[in-house]
């Protein structure tokens, strides 16, 4: 029996815990006034503090703490009134102080949970803790033949590390959890959540155990998972690798493994024995962080609407289905897009249908990712299109044609309708003339219809619509045909 089939038959249970690193979108770094923005020239965003010149000291960015409090509130974490900063010591050229300021024994919050849907099933993952820390810089090894280069723009940018309990059971679940996490941080306005720019990163602890066992198996920590697809693929690979080892009677080695997306494999990076001894100890340059109730309440009162609440509101206020609300609120950008369209034309159900079927189809890329700001038209244009249907200017069928043109050109639907001559014909005389012509030209079919072949009515409708190039008002066509054939 292959490892995979044994696994699929339920021999093993996969146990996954994720550590998500999320860059906070503050204007400045965590412990100095340098810009925390992405994309500047190397080492432009540096100062004596983040360069770790001798004698410099960190000063906490209170805004980063507010962002962190938002994350704690949105995930139901318990916020610790007092938490401590710690130093994590290791040598690397992109770590200027040779230690990272982080939180270790006393994080600022603990014991939260994140709920998400996957294929119609609700999942809940518990959070062990969230803590704040500063990012390291970036080493560039392939830009120069004999030198490595160091860019310290990122050094000191604030991060949240969100640590989950080992509650995740599959790669797709892990990816769904990550998507929910990204949706949350974007809703909260605390991070752009871009995995490709590294503002959201993830390490996965993966282990297998016999189904029914309560003890955790030996885990491997997977690093370099820089897309949702990588998360899924790396975990799938790792499950297969560990299952094969276990089925052969072997034991999994506790180690850190690097995901190689090009080759689709994980490779051993360092074993437990080679693991760093980070020599954590309390950071003496910073006072303990005190987050009192007044601060928490102020942040809570300023908290934006979160995805689950928005989903409920879409159902109650717009009469949408649970499914459509879920799809529309999964991303803040999409939900905003929808509400902007509704604000321009009050037909939420029709707009929701257009968005979930037609707009999403063109918005999503191969990875299933969407950037709504890059659509060829905005929500007002979609609203204008639905308004043209609702006021009878075009038929629903013509609207599909107009939509295609909007995707191609980005033009306003009214302009397209005008240019392409797609306005619906509602002139009763004109339609009656076509009806007469069609009935006259198909005397035999008209006779059959009259003798009881009701199905032929559709044939006549089709012919009239064809003759009118799809522009005849369908209701009028129906009525006039009925009058002419039944009369």
């Amino acid at each position: 029996m292959s490892a995979r089939s044994f696994y699929e038959q339920g021999g093993f249970e996969t146990v996954i815990g994720l550590e998500v690193h999320c860059q906070l979108a503050t204007a400045s770094k965590l412990f100095c006034g340098c810009s925390a923005a992405f994309g500047a020239d190397p080492n432009d965003h540096t100062c004596p503090v983040c360069l770790a010149m001798p004698g410099v000291l960190p000063v906490l960015n209170r805004r980063a703490v507010e962002y962190a409090i938002r994350a704690a509130l949105a995930t139901g974490c318990t916020i610790n009134t007092t938490s401590r900063w710690a130093r994590k010591n290791y040598f690397y050229p992109d770590l200027p102080k040779a230690y990272q300021i982080t939180q270790y024994e006393q994080p600022y919050c603990e014991h939260g949970r994140v709920a998400f849907d996957l294929d119609g099933t609700q999942h809940t993952v518990r959070l062990t803790r969230i803590h704040m820390e500063e990012d390291a810089g970036k080493s560039v090894h392939d830009a120069h033949a004999s030198w490595s280069l160091v860019d310290l723009n990122r050094a000191g940018v604030p991060l949240l590390e969100i640590v989950s309990e080992p509650d995740i059971r599959s790669g797709p679940e892990a990816a769904a959890y990550m998507r929910k996490m990204r949706s949350l941080v974007r809703y909260l306005g605390i991070s752009d959540g871009n995995m490709n720019e590294g503002s959201m990163r993830c390490d996965a602890n993966v282990s297998l155990r016999k189904r029914g066992d309560t003890k955790l198996g030996i885990r491997a920590e997977l690093k370099n998972l820089n897309s949702f697809r990588s998360v899924e693929r790396a975990i799938a690979y790792e499950i297969e690798r560990q299952a094969e080892i276990l089925l052969d009677g072997g034991t999994v080695v506790q180690e850190t493994r690097l995901w190689d997306a090009d080759r689709g494999v994980t490779r051993s990076m360092r074993s437990k024995e080679e693991a760093h001894d980070y020599r954590y100890f309390p950071e003496p340059d910073l006072l303990p962080l005190v987050i009192d109730d007044a601060w928490i309440e102020r942040v809570r009162s300023e908290l934006p609407e979160l995805p689950d609440a928005r989903r409920e509101r879409f159902i109650s206020a717009y009469g949408l289905s649970d499914y459509d609300s879920g799809v529309l609120t999964a991303s803040k950008e999409l939900a905003d897009w929808f509400e902007a369209a509704v604000a321009a034309h009050d037909n939420p159900k029709a707009l929701a249908n257009w968005i979930t079927s037609d707009v999403l189809r063109i918005a999503n890329d191969a990875e299933g990712e969407a950037d709504y700001s890059k659509l060829p038209f905005g929500p007002a244009s979609l609203a204008a299109l639905v308004r043209l249907i609702d006021d009878g200017t075009i038929s629903g069928k013509i609207a599909k044609t107009v939509f295609s043109k909007m995707v191609e050109t980005g033009d306003d639907p009214a302009v397209i309708v005008e240019r392409e001559g797609l306005v619906q014909v509602t002139d009763e005389g004109a339609i009656a003339a076509i009806v007469d012509r069609i009935v006259a030209a198909n005397g035999d079919k008209a006779a059959e219809y009259k003798s009881g072949k009701d199905k032929l009515f559709g044939f006549f409708v089709g012919q009239v619509m064809k003759e009118s190039h799809g522009k005849a008002n369908p209701a009028l066509v129906n009525r006039l045909l009925k009058e002419r054939l039944d009369g």
Partner: protein, 498 residues
């Protein structure tokens, strides 16, 4: 003695008075100090970097500022025009700052430490940078990688450390005042050995921003001068909250000089004498001098109370765990990547780290980095660092209990006077014990002072240590000044002949 020599012997308060009265110019004072340095520094070796042109420029600026003040238009401070020296641990913009280490031998800072910025703003004249033990690790100044500094009272004795140059430049009357740092006694011990006044303020009273870190939870900046009133004026200028140092205390800075006043009074003051500080191994002459000082306080109307600090015996061990742990982390940044000395780069990253740090750090610095790395290691943290932090709390509580019974604690600063150069360099443990009477003060974060209180049989100065409650520098200064006024030991000078 020439008159120019006499100018460099002025106390800060006297120089400040004469500057304000326009009886002397800052240029004259500065020239007097530069002349004295030229005449004596080949013997003493205080200065690592002398900046005479800059100093004279600052002196002229100060004189102009004083002139405007006389015209009723400006803002001169007590320190405007007063020439002082800085331990080479303070970052000085554009002036090489080495921390007496080869690893920073070519390091020129791009900004000033907060202390330096405040001194410049006040109009003090900065003569240059003075010697120290490398990264402030040492008790004799012999761990400098730059040069040997000698005790002006006897040139074959050490000046004490780590702020050795800060003490010798005062004792040799090369500067009117100086700043040092004190992590375990690094201001008070050299002050004691060199017969000058040294003050370690409450932890957090003075900003550490731009002060090269040794042990962050213990390091504190403080002044040295010939007199208590001089030290008070120096402290006044630099003390107070600094937004760049989160551990600096946000409490108002009292007017120290006016609190001391013309006739400081100690009547009714309760002076605590901890029995643990008068133990076996205390030099007989030191004990006699300190007991004499205590009697003098009684004569002046103070009450003497016996107090106990029972955890004193654990202080040295606790200190060498906490201080080395923090140091091992603080010194990680000297990796040759961004500034300072770099070696072995052609051989790869590990080799670059290894060569840079092996050649850049001296033996004592390496010893402490290794010790600190060890006590923080997985499996040892609880036994060492964590336990040391708990003992630290006990030591602090000892002082809290003692201060329930007294206002100020008086002890010897050191068990003995300055020892011979080279006499303890082979025995680190013996060297560490020089700080046995000063270390607890740092662990508890309290203010402490050393003032001269006599000479031993060889004519070497003896220091009296005063310890105060948190932020109670006023009582400390008042108590010190009362003794000084009564006994005048500060007038005794090293017989240093050019």
């Amino acid at each position: 003695m020439s008159s120019i020599d006499q100018l460099s012997q002025l106390s800060i308060e006297e120089a400040s008075r004469r500057l304000a009265a326009r009886e002397v110019s800052s240029r004259e004072l500065t020239q007097a100090c530069l002349a004295r340095i030229a005449a004596t520094d080949s013997q003493v070796g205080s200065f690592l970097e002398l900046t005479p042109e800059l100093a004279l420029q600052q002196a002229d600026d100060a004189d102009r500022r004083r002139a405007k003040t006389n015209a009723g238009a400006s803002d001169a401070t007590a320190l405007t025009g007063v020439p002082i020296a800085l331990k080479d641990i303070f970052l000085t913009k554009g002036v090489r700052t080495t921390c007496a280490s080869k690893i920073l031998e070519n390091f020129t800072p791009t900004f000033d430490a907060t202390v330096v910025a405040r001194l410049r703003q006040a109009g003090a004249v900065l003569l240059g940078k003075v010697n120290m033990d490398e990264f402030a690790m040492g008790s004799s100044c012999e761990n400098s990688s730059m040069k040997l500094t000698r005790n002006p009272w006897k040139l074959d004795r050490v000046p004490g450390g780590s702020s050795g140059g800060s003490a010798t430049c005062i004792a040799a009357r090369q500067a009117l005042g100086s700043f040092g740092t004190d992590t375990g006694g690094s201001i008070r011990l050299p002050a004691s050995f060199c017969g000058v006044t040294g003050l370690k303020p409450t932890y957090g009273r003075v900003s550490r921003y731009g002060v090269i870190a040794f042990a962050s939870s213990l390091d504190q900046v403080g002044p040295m001068a010939t007199t208590t009133r001089g030290a008070a004026l120096l402290l006044q200028t630099v003390a107070g909250k600094d937004p760049l140092d989160s551990t600096s205390i946000d409490a108002p800075v009292p007017d120290y000089a006016s609190i001391i006043g013309g006739h400081p009074d100690v009547r009714g003051l309760r002076i605590g004498i901890p029995r643990e500080y008068f133990v076996e191994g205390l030099d007989a002459d030191v004990e006699v001098a300190v007991r004499g000082a205590i009697r003098k306080y009684e004569e002046l109307g103070a009450t003497v109370v016996d107090v106990t600090l029972p955890h004193t015996e654990y202080a040295v061990a606790t200190y060498y765990i906490v201080a080395t742990a923090e140091a091992s982390s603080n010194l990680g940044r000297y990796d040759g990547v961004r500034y300072g000395r770099r070696r072995g780069e052609e051989q790869g990253l590990r080799e670059m780290y290894g060569e840079t740090r092996d050649q850049g750090f001296g033996a004592e610095v390496k010893r402490r980095i290794m010790l600190g790395t060890y006590v923080l290691s997985a499996g040892y943290y609880d036994a060492y660092y964590s336990k040391a932090m708990r003992v630290r709390t006990l030591i602090r509580r000892d002082f809290d209990a003692a201060f329930a019974q007294c206002d100020v604690i008086v002890t010897p600063t050191a068990p003995a006077t300055a020892f011979g150069i080279g006499s303890r360099t082979d025995d680190p443990l013996k060297m560490y014990l020089s700080d046995i009477l000063t270390i607890s003060v740092n662990l508890a974060g309290l203010p402490g002072m050393s003032i001269p209180c006599g000479l031993d049989r060889d004519g070497m100065p003896i220091g009296l240590q005063l310890i105060g409650k948190p932020l109670d520098e006023p009582t400390l200064l008042r108590t010190a000044a009362a003794y000084e006024d009564a006994c005048q030991w500060q007038r005794k000078r090293a017989e240093l002949r050019p």
